[in-house]
């Protein structure tokens, strides 16, 4: 019953379970805004029907994200008190900023987004949805910023205090724009859009396959497909590669762990699949020669540093990091193929609606995009070990000193039981909602033009009512 190991397990569990939902909030949110824009421009009621349907799904996903998101903010203090003391001068302000600038936007306007459909005109309703979705992206920005500071800290100085060495801020600008921040936030946003798009594609394809709500299914599918195609093609070679370059430059030992590279090597290979034997210091599998050197430095003859260039006490869990990283990369490659196939069959005389096997692939794509996003996060976090703040503070030194193993064991059990229950209920309700399908528009919705649709309308008309 080691409180440090259990705390790591608990944080991994709670953060991973939370990270299922925010990508959908961002990606599905983006598509909801697109659907809203199409309705405002075309006035075709099917888009309004789809808005009502997806907003309800959005509410369910968002609630799961909110419920599981609070946990991390508490855990920094409960389980990682010495970390909180060490970084408090820097890290806390980013979390507080997230609250002030992003979370209030989301939370404040969520009510209007979820319940405003019958109270606001289409443009004002769309505006509230846009603000919630913008807030979700902005929220991710602050969180990734905070996490990037843990990966590639900058703008700080260390100083001795009565309770030990602590980090103090020297430049807020450098804390915000650490070297890994921009590549990581772009990579995360794009991943989220892919998750959201595949979620919409999944439901749309399901309706077409089942022959229910076919028109709505096709409509929603056609909105999401271009998003998925474009971003799946760009994600690995552009945004993923950008982040890999940041890892190469600032966390070379992490790169070596991700690829299971033991010795310094020019023309270093990149594995497609493989297995790392840490005891024997070997990596076996199928690899493409020189690709790693090319991706890391743009030169096939460049030397990539191997694990043996670093002391073994700064190695991450190597095989684990290797496996989750390759899972992400391979799924990323698969998404390019799925996206291209989808685009081809859609353009080629709309064959996609008759190509049942491809539609089934899209139905299951949401599980794969979620898995890829999670494995990306795992790569970043497993690969950062043994540091909690890169090169400054070890995870083992960050844990709350007054925790007992039993306490943390009990809380791990609590989260396992609670999250298992929540996940089952979430999937059950989501499935029920999807099976039930979009509701027909209510009679009252015929009067959509009478709803207040400008700021002036909202504040004048309601004053009279």
């Amino acid at each position: 019953m080691n409180p440090e190991l259990l705390s790591r397990l608990q944080f991994a569990l709670t953060a991973s379970f939370h990270f299922i939902y925010p990508p959908i909030s961002m990606g599905l949110g983006l598509l909801l805004v697109v659907i809203g824009v199409i309705y405002v421009r075309t006035k075709d009621p099917k888009w309004r029907q789809l808005s009502f349907f997806w907003v309800k799904v959005y509410g369910l996903v968002f609630a799961m994200g909110v419920a599981t998101g609070l946990v991390q903010e508490f855990e920094f203090g409960t389980n990682w008190a010495d970390y909180s003391r060490f970084v408090g001068n820097i890290f806390g302000s980013l979390l507080a900023a997230e609250g002030i600038f992003a979370f209030f936007l989301e939370g404040g306007f969520l009510g209007l987004m979820l319940f405003g459909g019958n109270r606001l005109g289409p443009r004002m309703w769309l505006l509230s949805s846009f603000i919630v979705v913008f807030g979700a992206h902005f929220s991710a920005l602050w969180i990734i910023m905070a996490n990037s500071w843990m990966q590639t800290p900058a703008g700080y100085e260390l100083a001795q205090t009565s309770i030990g060495t602590l980090a103090f801020m020297t430049s807020f600008r450098e804390v915000v724009f650490t070297p890994s921040f921009i590549p990581r936030i772009l990579h995360t946003w794009v991943a989220s859009w892919m998750v959201g798009a595949s979620f919409v594609l999944s439901v749309g394809a399901f309706y077409v396959l089942r022959g229910r709500f076919v028109e709505l299914g096709k409509a929603t599918f056609k909105v999401a497909l271009p998003v998925f195609v474009v971003f799946s093609i760009l994600q690995v070679p552009a945004f993923g590669a950008m982040q890999a370059t940041a890892v190469t430059d600032y966390q070379p030992v992490k790169l070596a762990a991700m690829e299971g590279l033991w010795t310094d090597q020019s023309c270093a290979p990149m594995y497609i699949v493989g297995w790392v034997n840490t005891a024997a210091q070997t990596t076996t599998g199928i690899s493409i020669p020189c690709l790693l050197s090319f991706l890391a430095y743009g030169n096939i003859n460049a030397t990539v540093q191997g694990l043996n260039s670093f002391p073994s006490d700064v190695w991450a869990p190597i095989n684990l990091t290797f496996q989750v990283y390759h899972l992400m990369i391979n799924l990323g490659g698969l998404f390019i193929a799925i996206g291209l196939l989808g685009a081809l069959f859609a353009v080629w005389k709309q064959r996609i609606w008759r190509t049942r096997w491809l539609l089934w692939i899209f139905v299951f794509s949401i599980f794969l995009t979620e898995l890829a996003t999670l494995s990306g996060w795992w790569t970043a976090e497993f690969g950062r070990q043994p540091w909690i703040v890169w090169d400054l503070l070890r995870t083992v030194d960050a844990v709350s000193p007054n925790l007992s193993g039993v306490q943390v064991f009990m809380s791990v059990l609590m989260f396992v039981a609670l999250y298992a229950l929540l996940f089952v209920l979430f999937i059950y309700l989501l499935n029920e909602k999807i099976q039930h399908g979009p509701e027909p528009l209510a009679e009252a919705d015929a009067a959509v033009t009478s709803l207040p649709d400008t700021f002036k309308d909202i504040f004048r008309r309601r004053a009279r009512a």
Binding site: F74, N89, A96, G111, L112
Partner: protein
């Protein structure tokens, strides 16, 4: 730069007051609804009275956590790790409450709905109780050592004084929630709400009176503060005046004014306690030298300055659009196809 620490203490107390006022009424609605709402329609009206706003209200708690972490990291670390088991229970009820609100009306089955109604009730009650107990322990002092670690177990937290603060918090928020419901309900439900307001107020008043005496008699530092600066008694006095005025306004049907007064009462009580605690954030019952104060537990001046700039830029917008959203949803609750 001592003024920065004082400003951040004031801001932190205001954020907590914001949380107690804003999320307080929806916790109160959760605590009351099994007793006030007699059928599914009435329960949906209660639930939807907070439906569009509860999530935004909870952000005040997130902000409180973030502000404590940023401004007073030593307190954040000691408090959260020291109250480990209690904090895990807070998370449990916070999570359950969120999903109860969202899941409850997703299926028509009466058993499903009743089950989630009870989860909603129990979790709302649990949050009020746990936060009250935590605050009671902060007022009373904890086993804080020289390294800033809090000793003891959950049982140390469950002492009579802290439990009294917990129960008082429950009735304070229930009263506040009932007054909020009076703005949002009509007919029979409203009549029932109006009968409950004075009863809740009386229980709260009695509990709070006991609490005030216990606090003043049992905590010399707090009593001394008020004896040295008698003018500060204005805060608790204002809270008392506000609660009485709130009742009169409910009787006259001026529900919105009553709600503002009830909010003022909560703020007045919290400010009274905060004045008594100043400059301590965590009091050590082992040795006062170990106390964590707004000076020895704070971030350095540049962090506090940057945060202050962010708060000054951000908070006016927050208040403005929050008011706008409440304005759009004002008036009695109407159930529609989009409602919970």
């Amino acid at each position: 730069m001592m003024w920065l620490n004082i400003v951040w203490y004031a801001l932190f107390v205001i954020i907590i007051a914001g949380y107690l006022i804003m999320d307080g009424f929806d916790l109160g609605v959760g605590i009351l609804h099994p007793f006030l709402a007699k059928n599914d329609d009435e329960r949906r009206i209660s639930l939807n009275s907070i439906g569009p706003v509860w999530d935004g209200n909870e952000v005040w708690l997130v902000l409180g956590g973030g502000a404590l972490f940023a401004a007073f990291p030593m307190v954040y670390a000691s408090l959260f790790s020291g109250f480990y088991a209690a904090m895990m229970l807070v998370l449990l009820v916070l999570i359950l409450r969120t999903v109860a609100i969202e899941f409850r009306s997703k299926r028509p089955s009466p058993r499903w709905r009743t089950a989630w109604d009870w989860v909603f009730f129990a979790s709302s009650l649990g949050i009020a109780l746990l936060l009250g107990v935590a605050f009671g322990n902060i007022m009373q002092g904890v086993l804080l050592d020289a390294q800033g670690n809090i000793g003891g177990t959950l049982l140390n937290l469950l002492n009579p004084y802290a439990l009294l603060v917990g129960v008082t918090t429950i009735f304070m928020l229930a009263t506040h929630g009932a007054i909020y419901l009076s703005m949002k309900t009509e007919g029979e439900l409203l009549a029932r709400v109006k009968r409950w307001v004075p009863r809740l107020m009386i229980i709260f008043f009695v509990l709070n009176t006991v609490l005030v005496f216990w606090t003043v008699l049992g905590h010399d530092a707090i009593a001394d503060r008020y004896l040295q600066m008698p003018l500060l008694v204005l805060f608790p006095a204002a809270a008392l005046a506000a609660v009485i005025a709130a009742w009169l306004m409910v009787r006259r049907g001026r529900y919105f004014v009553a709600f503002l007064l009830s909010s003022a009462m909560i703020a007045g009580l919290l400010f009274s306690a905060a004045i008594g605690l100043y400059p301590n954030l965590l009091i050590s019952s082992i040795d006062v030298q170990y106390n964590l104060t707004i000076f020895n537990a704070a971030s350095q001046a540049n962090t506090l300055t940057i945060m202050l700039i962010m708060a000054v830029i951000g908070m006016p917008f927050v208040l403005l659009y929050t008011a706008g959203v409440y304005y759009i949803f004002r008036g009695k609750v109407q159930i529609s196809s989009q409602s919970y």
